[in-house]
Each structure stands twice: as C-alpha cells, then as structure tokens.
Amino acid sequence: MFSLQAWIRERVPVGPEQLRELTNEPVPNHLKKWWWCLGGTPAYLFVVQIVTGILLAFYYKPAPQTAYESVRYITEEASFGWFIRGLHKWAATLMVAAVVLHQMRVYFTGAYRKPRELNWLVGMCLLLLTLVVGFTGYSLVYEQLSYWGATVGANITDSVPVVGVYMKQLLLGGEVYNDNTLSRFFILHAAVLPVTMAALIALHVTLIRLQGVTEFHFKDEDPKKAKFFNFFPEHLLTELSIGLVLMILLSVLATVLPAEMGPKADPLTTPEVIKPEWFFYVAFRWLKLFTGTLAVLSMGLVVFLMYAWPFIDAQIRKWRPNSEASVWIGIAGALAIIALTVWEASVAH
C-alpha cells in the first residue's frame, strides 16, 4: 500500500528521532524564568516585521512625489492598513527595546566572556542593524521628520574624516537629498538590511547552539534536581507564550496608540521643534553638545569600545581576577544613556 510517510522518508531522510535529537538542546533551568528569554523576543519581533513589512510594501511607493500619499493611503483607506502599519511601527519600537534589554542581560551576567566573545560581536552588529533599520524605516514615510532625519543622518556620515564624503553620496545617491534617495532607503530598509540581519541571527543562534547558553546556579536551587530541561517542548512553550503576550501587546498598542501622519516633508523648512525617535535621543543630545566631527568620532569610539568589551574585560580580569569593574562600568553607561535620553525628552531644544 502506498504510504505517504514512507514516500516522504525516502526523499527527505530525516525521522522523528533525528528531529528530536536536533531540537533537543538541553536548556539550563534558569531559562524557565522569562527574563532570561529576552533574546527570543527580538527574534520573534523580527518575524513580525518581515510579515507586516511585506504587507506594507504592497502599497508603499518609494518616491518623493508618492511616498507620503501612499503611507496616507495605507493608514486611512486600505482596509486594516492602520493596523498593519501600527503593528510594524510598534514592533520596531519594541524590537529596539528588546535588543537593548537582551544585551543588558548578557552584559550584567557576564555571558559575553570566553568562549562567547564572537557571539557578542555578532550581537553588536545586530544592535546597530536594528537601529539602522529603524532609522531607514521612519525615513520612508516622507514626513518632516523623515526628511530632516535622513538629511542629518547622511551628513553625520559626511563628518567621518576621509571616506565620509563618499559614504554620504553613496547613501543619498547625490550630494543632497534627491529623487534617488528614497528608493535607496527603501531597498536598504526592506531588502539589504533585513537579509543581513536574518543571516546574522542564524549565525547568532548557531553559535548559541554550539556553545550552549551560559549556565547559572542560584543558591535557592535544589542541587539534586535536574539542571536542564528540554528545548522541545518545554522551552518552545515558554517562547510561544511570550509570542502570545507580545501579539496581544502589539495589537493593543496599534489600536490604542495608532500610527499617525505627521506633516509632509518640506525641503525648504526645518520645523521649529524637531526630534528623532526616542531611541536616537542619546545620539541627538550628544550632537548638540559637541562639534560635528568630535561628536561623530566620540560616538564611533564608544561603539568600538562596546565591540571590544569582552577583550577589554578579559584584560581587566587577568590583572584583577575579582574585579567588579564590568558591573560599575555597565551601571555608569546605562545611567549616562538614560540621563541623556531623559534630558532630550524633557526640553524642546
């Protein structure tokens, strides 16, 4: 008798046993607590962005003459367009927040230490890419903020000595914002950056699988109890419940605080009060405090130090094995970021 199962097995030689083997990464017990699972949250939101982004791209028209009107159409006329756009916008915000929280968890638990330095580097790339996707995303709407944000962003690359002027022209497709600019931002936002991110997420997860999640032991744990539980189905269930909570949260946010249309871009007038999205407040305040090149180079230095941190930390610990420096530096860094963000949020200029 024709057996579908046998037919498939002959062509795809993987059985339930191997599948079990493949997915049954033993997961340390502390991952039963949700705050250890923050890494899964951006991954989930990434999928939400791909799906909602593809839906938006059905109506979006990336040219200065059409972009604003097409987003208005999505928001006001296309059935449930407001919902899809709201999901995309809120998932972007939550994604930045989730990546930052995940990174803080990794940092403060020292999970970047040997042998996981390389995965910290991959994670840093993902953080920067998330910020850049967010930036190129809100440039697409062709609101005032989109236009002036893109102009300022391009001129920031221009402040980089030597190569900056070429980078700016590559980004804008001209010396200033022009007819070619929006389609570049769109291709970056909807193709180049997401594909790069997908590849890096795959690498990130592969490295986690190869090295295992860092194990932690708590004093209140029963030493006789098993230290691990199964990825499938237990951990998957945790992740799925996080997915459910996130979808409810996103739907509520998209409905209660829907994405709106700001004033249309006007290349001749910068509005009197202009602010980027909240996750760029730090950089925006920094740019007001120092001259152009100094601000850009110092931000570059901070990013470089963040990349190099696992290696710097290893040197510190070689020299002083019980040093708590990483914790203090982390707290100082987090407070500085919060302070600059709150400062920028609380004043008009």
Partner: protein, 166 residues
C-alpha cells in the same frame, strides 16, 4: 585561477560600486539676480532659487565689484538643516541642534558656533554691471505644506528688501 577570479569578480564589484555612486554632480547654473547699481550699499534683497530656497543677498561695500556682495545660504553647515532668521534675537537659528549665526552668517553658538563654522555662501559674479548667482537647478518637488512662495519669478527680477530676512 585565483587571479582570474579576483580580477573578474573584483572588476564587477568596482563597477557595481561605481554604479551606485552618483553619475554626475548636482546641476548648477549662473542665474541673473539684479543690476549691481540697483542695490545700494547696506541694502539687501531676497532671491529665490529655482528650487525654492530663499537667499539673502546683501551689499556691504560700494567698490562696485562683486566683492561688495554676500549671498548667504540657509543650509546649516553643521548637519544640513534649514536655519531661519529670528528678528527678535537678531540671529539665524537652526532648530536641529541649536546652532546660531549672526547677521553676517558667522556661527555664534551651538555646535556650528563652537566649531567656528559659518553659513555657506553662494558664488556670485558680476558681468557688465549685472549680478549673477550660481545655484543648483535641480531640486525635489516642494511640499504643499510649505508657506506660499512670494510669487516672484527669479527670471523676471528680484524683490528689493530691507533686512537679512530669510
């Protein structure tokens, strides 16, 4: 083999980068502004470029040459936002990072002030007693939301104004 791969793919990569890089610089042209004699020393006029940018052209001396004139751009030298004239404070203000400039366009505060940057100037020339300005001729379509243009056609002649109002 390796050299062949390097050469063929390398050439393709160079071509691809060049393809993405703008093919030509932004188009510019010399446009007629006014008769030199029509602008008295100390006076100024507002000129509107084909793209709609307003340029304050001021005459600061009376030698009769083009060096008497300055044409200030309203594009901030810091990161490219548009400055506007604040008459109550007698300064140009850039809302992006609080840059300020005095009437002559010299940076006085904020990041451009600290870096000693001034508002850029458009090139001017005079020929046969006529004043010309070099401005970009390509621009994005101006949004409907912008304040109505003052209705003057740059080819027909300027409006004579009084202050450095941009």
């Amino acid at each position: 083999m390796l050299a062949g791969l390097g050469a063929s793919y390398g050439t393709a990569a160079v071509y691809a980068t060049r393809y993405l890089y703008p093919a030509r610089p932004r188009a510019k042209a010399w446009m007629y502004v006014a008769r030199v004699a029509d602008i008295a020393p100390g006076g100024s006029l507002n000129y509107t470029t084909p793209g709609g940018e307003k340029v304050a052209i001021a005459r600061q001396a009376q030698s009769g040459t083009v060096d008497d004139f300055v044409a200030l751009s309203s594009t901030c030298p810091h990161l490219g936002c548009q400055v506007h004239w604040e008459s109550q404070n007698e300064r140009f203000f850039c809302p992006c990072h609080n840059g300020t400039f005095d009437k002559s366009g010299k940076g006085t505060g904020g990041p451009p002030g600290d870096a000693g940057q001034s508002l850029p100037r458009y090139p001017l020339k005079s020929e046969g007693g006529l004043l010309y300005i070099e401005v970009p001729t390509e621009s994005l379509e101006v949004a409907d939301a912008s304040p109505p243009r003052d209705g003057h056609d740059p080819c027909l002649g300027p409006h004579l104004g009084d202050g450095a109002r941009v």
